[in-house]
Amino acid sequence: MSAVRKEDSMLLQKQMMSDHYDRLASAHDEGRKVVYTFVPGNLNELVRSFDLLPVLPEINALQSGLRKKSGGYIAEAEKNGHSEDVCTYVKCDIGMLKKGNISPTGTQLPKPDLLLLSYTGCFTFLKWFELLREEYGDVPVAMLHVPYQANGRIEPHQRDYVVQQMRTEVIPKLEQVSGRAFDEDRLREMLRLSARAEDDLVWTLESAKRTPSPIDAYFGGVHYIGPIFSAFRGTQGAVDYYTALRSEVQERLDAGQGPVTPEGPMGIEKYRLVVEGPPNWTSFREFWKMFYDEGAVFVASTYTKVGGLYDRGFRHDPDNPLETLADYCLGCYTNLGLPTRVDLIEQYIRDYNADGFLVNSVKSCNSFSVGQLMMLRQLEERTGVPGVFIENDLVDPRYFSAANIKNRIESYLQMLDQKRGKAA
């Protein structure tokens, strides 16, 4: 078997992740404190402005999934009484903890010095950290409640409410844990770096509007969002990564090339698809192959917006540091109501000239999966573009039924062909 092809930016990112886990491993020895927090609505710049290091449990879980470790962790969590129906990210994390808290790259993960529960869109987060607090004993918890965007827009009182919690709850706890005073200028500087990286990320994601698309906005996209969604937003490292990514994609654009797959450059682009829902991590390549083998490329995805909806215009604003963080938290894809999600996907289908769309539904994720079938129907009605629904999972390898999923995808793509034939 030939070696797996990776873009340079992927290698760079892999190195960044690996360095981060190394830093975490030695953090406590070097006197640095660690904050556990979640991806959607994370306050990375604020955390880092106190010289604290973030640990993101979902990233650990998905990285464990990619590295084929999640199955054993989930079994371990189930041994400890967590049922089959519980979110598999949670079980993977609990299992990893029970097995010694070894990070996906094999280094030791430090215990948390603070659990920063930014509670954005997913109600399981609350229970997840409750479990971690149980496991770790006497760890302080900072709660940040982010109200749901029920009206499809951020109301001023919602922003005020989040800012107020930062002032009265989050910042005091960060000060207490780090032993440092809040430094607003330092935060502004980081937010400036965030905005620069965000510009390049958006440019990259929007390059998929071209035909052929130079990127796969889902299977490639999840790599592209890695640094900005995880521990690197607001750092020079993220700025450098996105500069490199942009020039890499620019080269492919100039050459009229499609995305790079694990088996080399993709063949002719035959289908342009939009996707809703996270990918499966345990059979990531196998899942991707089902699409690129058929010439199907994802041109837009909602999952790449769970850590921020930058392509709708939001940028971190250094002039209003806490307000902009509040807007960021409120605006994440996970915090949007169903009508807003339908509007967004409809816009993607039109803007990216898509032939179809996929709902990759996660069976163990109640927060995100509820309503997806209704979304599918509404989108079909509004756009006339047919959709397909797949049941999948995040990191439980038992739930990836390759033959059935492939069967569905093939049937769907043949259905698109048949419709085209009729139109021709």
Partner: protein
């Protein structure tokens, strides 16, 4: 020379083939049990459909005289069965001579010969005039006959029953994985002789002439399309493979042009498909991770109740008080079944509940695929089961109001019919 267009549907339980002529008329159908060697299953089912095609040619030539031609077909099936029986005996002899049985080879061979000698008259009874068969597959008939005789012949002190079972299991695999070719050409002579003896007053000359012409006719395969669960394993190039969803949609449309919804319940999956006025699929839903409530479920229940699959539906229809079954998990349903039987509930009432449980599951897929707005066509092996059809009719009525429900005795061939139509279209496009 006749151009024919073939569709093959390689399902998890059975493999089906349909042969079309250039005008899109169905001129042949074949069915066999799917087996470990998919290539052979595809070859055998095609051969079966070609045999039937030649009978259609006979019918076209002398006009349909169902009595005589069905006798001819039955007699040919007997010849095919006897040929496989001879192969089975040969395979068993070879196994008996193998190292595994060196301690008792002579004794084993004798008993196997006795079994084989007893199987032949049973085979003739299966295909006698007016006889009904429990199954159309060699494997099923031969296994039942073999076990029946082996039980009497086995002797725990010398050759135990399980040794005889082991020989059969190995031998049947060897027999099933050998292709059969030119069955019509090789066996029609003997079949004709037997038929003329049964029907001494028929127009023997006319029949012989028609048979000779049908035998001589060259069937040219214009195009072939494969579909079904095992389609990726079919020995066809990729462009000749179509998803079974599309094939079931098109096949159902060909059978019932007004249908807009298709429910297919096969061996291991259930599909709810919406089609437009030309039979093009517009949306579909199918079971993803669990095959509960599919055809295999009924097979399992039939085994648990020691019934033949086709006996389940009619028995369920005798129910007057349906038992509510909650479990559609095949394994749990077995437990629930035994529990209910031990409580003294009637078999027919339990079966009625099981059929409703299956259809309830299908109703969820139908709803998810977009509901039933117009005619619904029920296809796949389970559509042959009258209790499943009745449960579907009730539940569709309860959920959607009065709707036309189409079923056909040929519903098991819907996917292969769709595939054959795709083959015909591909050939027409190529010609244009």
């Amino acid at each position: 020379m006749i151009d024919v267009f073939v569709g093959i549907d390689l399902g998890s339980t059975t493999t089906k083939a349909v042969v079309l002529d250039g005008d899109g008329n169905v001129i042949g159908r074949g069915i066999t049990n799917s087996r470990s060697n998919y290539d052979v299953a595809a070859l055998i089912v095609r051969e079966e459909a070609f045999v039937r095609t030649r009978f259609t040619l006979v019918e076209r030539s002398i006009g349909v005289d169902a009595g005589v031609i069905s006798a001819l077909e039955r007699n040919l099936k007997l010849q095919q069965h006897l040929e496989l029986l001879a192969r089975l005996q040969e395979a068993m002899s070879m196994l008996a001579a193998g190292p595994k049985h060196c301690g008792h080879a002579g004794d084993l061979r004798k008993r196997l010969d006795d079994i084989a000698a007893g199987m032949e008259p049973l085979a003739r009874q299966h295909f006698a005039r007016g006889a009904t068969r429990r199954s159309d597959f060699f494997r099923d008939l031969a296994a039942a006959d073999y076990m029946h005789i082996a039980e009497q012949i086995a002797d725990p002190k010398h050759i135990a029953f399980d040794v005889l079972c082991g020989v059969f299991d190995a031998a049947i695999l060897a027999v099933e994985n050998l292709p059969v070719e030119h069955a019509f050409e090789r066996h029609i002579g003997a079949a004709l002789e037997a038929t003329l003896a049964e029907h001494p007053h028929c127009d023997a000359d006319g029949l012989c002439r028609a048979v000779v012409e049908a035998r001589r006719e060259e069937l040219v395969e214009g195009a072939t399309v494969g579909t079904g669960y095992g389609r990726a394993r079919l020995p066809f190039p990729k462009e000749q493979i179509r998803s079974e969803i599309l094939c079931h949609g098109l096949g159902a449309h060909a059978m019932f042009p007004e249908t807009r919804t298709v429910l297919d319940i096969g061996g291991q999956d259930t599909k709810a498909i919406q089609v437009d006025a030309s039979g093009i699929v517009t949306s579909f839903q199918m079971n993803d991770r669990c095959a509960a409530g599919c055809g295999r479920y009924l097979g399992y229940i039939a085994d648990e109740m020691n019934l033949a699959l086709h006996e389940l539906g009619p028995l369920a229809q005798e129910s007057r008080t349906r038992v509510k079954i909650n479990s559609t998990c095949t394994v749990f349903a077995g437990a629930e079944l035994r529990e209910r039987l031990s409580l003294g509930q009637k078999r027919e009432d339990i079966l009625s509940g099981l059929h409703r449980a299956i259809i309830l599951r299908a109703m969820s897929l139908l709803a998810r695929s977009g509901g039933i707005h117009d005619q619904l066509t029920f296809t796949g092996g389970v559509a042959r089961n009258p209790a499943a059809v009745a449960a579907l009719r009730d539940l569709v009525g309860e959920n959607y109001g009065p709707r036309t429900l189409n079923t056909s005795p040929d519903s098991i061939y819907t996917g292969s019919l769709g595939a054959a139509l795709f083959a015909l279209r591909a050939a027409e496009r190529k010609a244009a």
